[in-house]
Subunit: 576 residues, 2 copies
């Protein structure tokens, strides 16, 4: 009863089809990765007509399960050249599920210079010209779309970066306040959308309904247990809720793992000024809302409204990784400036991690000094303008490193590293090195166990045990991303055995299955194998499952450690 | 008796050593590739301390054999990430051989910001500060070095591009007129030299002597037969001699294989204006020398002096690939402008093929219109200045394509294609796809048989037989590059059986061996295997042995052909 919508941008046709056998039982990341692996030539141009852009809500989407509304976006990545799935909060995932749509697959490529928008409603899908949106940022795009389609719809869009097909371009999703603040940020998926000539998707949930459940009572009971687990765990009920993800600044800094000045130190002198406690304080002082969910059904509510000095909305609360990328990594400790840059990235449609890294590498290359707030904002503005320097920066940290002859370039598979130095959090270092996605903390968040003692504890500075830790988390994450759950559910799942069982129970009750926890593990493994297979065909080898040389040779202060998990161990991650 | 000089830029030490067993019997490309494969970690940063830069004259260097003075330069490439050998004419190869030096290996990395020059004389090698050369182009660098060391020395240097560590940076070698006109152009070897803090090498041949010969008489006789073959073959005695390599413009245009406007057509409307016949005519009119060898012992003499309208020296005759890169590929038909850009590339130290392609891709991306002569010169000047746009262009065609969202990006292993469209000269297409070097016509010059009927003939438009053709040529070329012979000796070798036997006879007479032609083939295969093995360890797979998708899908006018050699056949090239 769920359908797949295929949109061909070459001939502007739209087809609705039943879910093919090969894709049944998959959702979210599992579905986007299966479509990309099955239907996209791994050696094609990522910005050509043979790539496909896939949107898919997860298996638990459209239900009353807490935090189940994530949406996965998949394609061959213009940044890494491998498979890519990047998922986002916002309203689109839940709305698609309520419309009975398992996936939207964008194929082909519009005629050069043409730009379209796609309307997706109950039993109606339509492409129309979007020339009036050309060159607009996501905020202005959404404003125009709201005027045309009302504020009950969910909007998916690209900004200038996506139209320019920059490898750092994101896909934006509107949140509950209908602002384009949630992003499938990583790997240049916005460039794929831009290459297809698709500026925006309007998802109109009118007449949509909750997803059907085979066993309503059983689902309801399991959903309640799951919600309780989220409400009982301190991370998902207090830490994230009160201080946002930015609570991590002081924790990671204390651990000596906060990459500072382009990964040259693990401690930032004035980290506290940009930490979650400061974020909360500023927000409360300015009478902003310090706790908001990014999508309906969220009970963690790790976001908030960042107001400027006049009390006007500036941006959603910048995530920890964003605060880090523009903050410590560029030697900047000004939250107002960081929020402005967060807003600019949301507007241009840029991955904050890739872009912040690109600018830190440019700073190391001498383009601007570290700590130059105005300089960083100026560089970011160049990207929006599409000047040559802007286009270079928007090509990502790897490209900037090559152009400026910088040797300390923190990328794996050409994707820039997030906000945890792999020398001082070795479990996440294993994830960065081996993930099918390029450097990605969300692919296997070993920080939880290495630093936060969630799911046990493991010394972050020692190489022993990190591969097992990362491996287990990568498998679990692939399953969570397939279910469409917010990754933060992993905190209770790792500490409370019933939380995982509740997820399995919900899947069984919704689909009339009798899966066990082992089946969920097998599902995660299957998704990873699909992705590994695509990457192998795209030309990836063990040599791509490595951190850049400098992490293994330059000691990171204050612990003076290098990354020393042996290569042979890294090569066992995907041996299930 | 031949020695290896190891120069460690980290501690500024210089050591002389006997040729280790593993490297014996190798010279030129065979030696540089063996050193790189044995001593360089394939996953290291190409611009870090763990890469090595190797200079090696060939096995026949330092003798009276005609055209035997090539010098190979090897390292891990900053452009491709794989192994790289690029060889050059000029005086350095012959001089090193006469000094009894089989190779110079540059290791480590100088302290940040320091710049050195290396003096290499008979029994004396010395590093000294080169701060006075900082930021100078190759012409000014050589002028200063000439004043210090006289004009009897050979000079090796990098321009601004190498100092900036740009992936398109070349290493320059002085010719017989002591001008920096000969380049190891491809793959960014100048960036490796720059990263090590080495601005120049002075090779002082004083007290050097001809290489010793085990059997002088036999050598002399074989050298005579070899010289006669060069003098008898029409390509090496007439075509190249009178019109330079640029003679190919009209031939390749006629064949419909002259890439025009960034590989969008195989015919350029006004090709004749930039062909070898025009080059010769302009040169004679301006009273320039229309035939010069680039190194002592050259009897082909394919170069000449390009004079400006006032009769002053502007550049050496631009090679065919240079004329093409700045000419038809950018829709430019002005030889004076092309010669100015050739001069600028020689001066900045840039690979003309990579840079011309980068600018053509930028033109397709809308930076300047095709055909804009002043625009092209302006873009090239940006590279010399090191502006952000210049650094992006100097990062090569692949980087420019990503930044400007261009889909038609003619690169293999991220190295830009030379001047023969692989759709219309399919043999060289096989070479581009599969060469260990990235797209490189010199690695297996199937144009000879496909277009010039040298070594037989094979329809360039049909896929059949191209793999066999390319394979044989890649093996033979690896051997020729190991001998240190100019690649143009391949023309007589392919047509006259005795030319190859003469080469074998010279090797045997020089070293007291009893090799056969089969042994030379085995040597070529061994060199290719060494290179393939390095690349495999660096992460290259069959997916890297492919042309970009568009060559297989977009038809090239006027023959309306695509590249259709099957992948499975490409994968047999290195099965010996």
């Amino acid at each position: 009863m769920f359908k797949i919508i295929r949109v061909n941008m070459s001939d502007l046709s739209i087809k609705t089809e039943d879910i093919p056998e090969a894709y049944q039982g998959l959702g979210g990341r599992g579905l986007t990765s299966a479509v990309v692996a099955n239907e996209v030539d791994p050696t094609c141009s990522p910005i050509g007509p043979n790539n496909k852009l896939v949107f898919a809500p997860g298996l638990l989407g459209g239900t009353n399960c807490a935090n189940s509304g994530r949406i996965s976006v998949g394609a061959k990545s213009p940044l890494t050249g491998g498979i890519k799935e990047s998922n986002s909060g916002g309203q689109a995932g839940g709305y698609l599920s309520r419309l009975g749509i398992a996936a939207i697959i964008i194929e082909g490529m519009a005629e050069e210079g043409k730009l379209y928008k796609l309307y997706v409603g109950k039993d109606k899908q339509e492409l129309s010209a979007a020339d009036d949106l050309k060159g607009l940022g996501n905020y202005a795009t959404v404003d125009k779309l709201k005027r045309a389609f009302g504020d009950k719809a969910g909007f998916v869009s690209i900004g200038q970066a996506g139209e320019m097909k920059l490898p750092a371009a994101s896909v934006a999703f509107t949140d509950r306040e209908v602002r384009p603040t949630r992003h499938a940020g990583r790997g240049g998926l916005g460039a794929v959308m831009g290459s297809k000539g698709l500026k925006a998707i309007v998802i109109d949930p009118a007449e949509g309904e909750l997803a059907p459940l085979v066993d309503k009572e059983a689902f309801k009971a399991a959903a309640k247990r799951f919600a309780k687990a989220l409400q009982d765990h301190p991370v998902t009920s207090q830490g994230l809720t009160n201080y946002g993800t930015d609570i991590l600044i002081n924790i990671i800094n204390e651990a000596g793992a906060l990459p500072t000045r382009n990964f040259s130190s693990g401690r930032f002198e004035t980290a506290d000024k940009v930490g979650g406690e400061s974020l909360n304080k500023i927000t409360v002082e300015r009478k902003g809302n310090p706790t908001r969910g990014c999508m309906s059904g969220c009970i963690i509510r790790c976001s908030g409204d960042y107001l400027d000095k006049n009390g006007d909305f500036l941006s959603k609360w910048p995530e920890y990784e964003t605060v880090w990328a523009w903050g410590p990594n560029c030697e900047i400790d000004d939250l107002d400036a960081i929020a402005r840059m967060d807003r600019a990235c949301d507007d241009f449609g840029l991955d904050t991690i890739e872009t912040g890294n690109a600018i830190a590498v440019a700073m190391e290359g001498g383009v601007k000094p570290f700590g130059d707030v105005a300089g960083a904002e100026e560089l970011l503005a160049e990207i929006g303008k599409g000047s040559p320097l802007g286009r270079l920066l928007g090509s990502g940290a790897g490209a900037v490193g090559k152009a400026f002859g910088v040797r300390r370039v923190p990328v794996v598979k050409n994707q820039a590293l997030p906000a945890y130095d792999p020398r001082a959090v070795k479990g996440v270092g294993v994830t960065y090195a081996t993930s099918t996605m390029g450097a990605d903390h969300t692919a296997g968040y070993a920080v939880a166990t290495n630093i936060m003692n969630v799911g046990g504890s493991l010394d972050p500075l020692k190489p022993e045990g990190q591969v097992e830790l990362s491996k287990g988390l990568q498998v679990a994450t692939a399953a969570i991303d397939t279910a469409g759950l917010c990754l933060f559910v992993a905190f209770p799942v790792m500490d409370m055995p019933d939380a995982l069982i509740a997820i399995v129970d919900m899947l069984n009750a919704k689909y009339g299955l009798s899966m066990t926890a082992d089946d969920v593990t097998a599902l995660g493994q299957k998704v990873l194998q699909i992705e590994r297979d695509f990457n192998a065909r795209a030309g990836f080898t063990a040599a791509d499952d490595r951190l850049p040389e400098f992490f293994c040779q330059e000691k990171l202060p204050p612990h003076d450690v290098v990354f020393d998990v042996p290569d042979e161990e890294l090569d066992t991650v995907f041996k299930f």
